[in-house]
Amino acid sequence: MAVVLPAVVEELLSEMAAAVQESARSTGSRSLKFLFGSSATQALDLVDRQSITLISSPSGRHVYQVLGSSGKTYTCLASCHYCSCPAFAFSVLRKSDSILCKHLLAVYLSQVMRTCQQLSVSDKQLTDILLMEKKQEA
């Protein structure tokens, strides 16, 4: 990831990676819950339910989409820490208290645990997917 995550999040993610390798997932998720509260449980749920899709094109550019619990799909840019969900806009950008929304947390977890759906699209289709976020119709 090119973005500079807070050091504590980086450390936690590498602990998760280690824990996953030892199949000791419960230890990792306790720390997650401590740090992220209810977002952590929901994020782990999203991972379990295979709700995260990595969409990539031949150019190598990629984007994540997460199927939220409400049935809506949200777009996440992992390279720089962005999610199209309202929770991200509100708590992360305005109030600046949450470090991550549950969708971004789910994306980072799925990267660490190497489990997510994969979808290949053409370069043109990826452009359209990225552009679609410009004006999200409710």
Binding site: A2, V4, S59, L77, L93, L130
Partner: protein, 250 residues
């Protein structure tokens, strides 16, 4: 691209060590200042700097074509460097979005530096914070994609200039908070001079955790040449930040 700017700033000074031949690109950098504070000039200087290293083209995005070369280019303009700067002029926020979203479709070598001048004009069109966040995030994502295309060990830097006003309204403040979240490195420009009767600009560069804040004095000679020197620190000057780790924003 904090590193390119730092190299521009240290170019003329004795602090230039010359051993930093292939430094890391550094985090995305935000250049801030009021109208006329020299942002375009510094952005252009960074573009020329990055175009000279044999590292690949530079992509310079701005709303309107530059009517004339910015201050500071002077007599040292190297046509070979200028040729490696690709200018594009997205006339609206929508066009800028389109350009960034389709950046991976563009043929040719990936740039080693992506610059955007006048971000405030694009943000003003769409005051919705979520849209603003997406635009900023796309800038970073585009630079990240270029880094990927450049291959292992090479990165594409990102440098964005934003005009600030004396009286900031709440929309501006929100944008600024947003930008400071995404841009770890910042450089503030303001007209200032170290002594009475002198002119120029004061540049405060905060490389975002990679080092201490440093301050520089930028002036323009009558022939247009840009002169840069470390901001003279005087004993008892409370704003002398060289070497100290006090992190207050100006």
């Amino acid at each position: 691209m904090a590193e390119a700017l730092r190299r521009v700033l240290t170019r003329d000074s004795a602090a230039w060590s010359g051993e930093e031949n292939t430094p890391a690109v550094g985090p995305p950098l935000l250049l801030l200042g009021a109208p006329g504070s020299g942002k375009t000039a510094l952005l252009f200087a960074a573009a020329l700097e990055a175009a000279g290293e044999g590292q690949g083209p530079v992509l310079f995005l701005t709303r309107r074509p530059l009517q004339s070369l910015p201050r500071g280019t002077g007599t040292t303009l190297d046509p070979m460097r200028l040729q490696k700067i690709r200018f594009q002029y997205p006339p609206s926020t929508r066009e800028l979005f389109r350009l960034l979203c389709s950046a991976h479709e563009a043929p040719g070598p990936a740039p080693s530096l992506l610059l955007l001048d006048g971000l405030e004009e694009y943000l003003a069109e769409d005051p919705e914070p979520q849209e603003a966040a997406y635009l900023i995030a796309l800038l970073l994502d585009t630079a990240a994609h270029f880094s990927h295309r450049l291959g292992p060990g090479r990165d594409c830097g990102l440098m964005v200039a934003l005009q600030t006003q004396e009286e900031a309204d709440s929309g501006d403040v929100l944008h600024l908070t947003l930008l400071q979240r995404y841009f770890p490195a910042q450089c503030w420009l303001q007209p200032d001079a170290p002594g009475p009767g002198e002119h120029g600009l004061r540049a405060c560069l905060d490389p975002g955790g990679l080092g201490p804040r440093t301050e520089w004095w930028v002036t323009f000679r009558s022939d247009g040449e840009m002169m840069i020197a470390p901001w003279p620190t005087q004993a008892g000057d409370p704003s002398s930040g060289k070497g100290s780790s006090s992190g207050g924003q100006p």
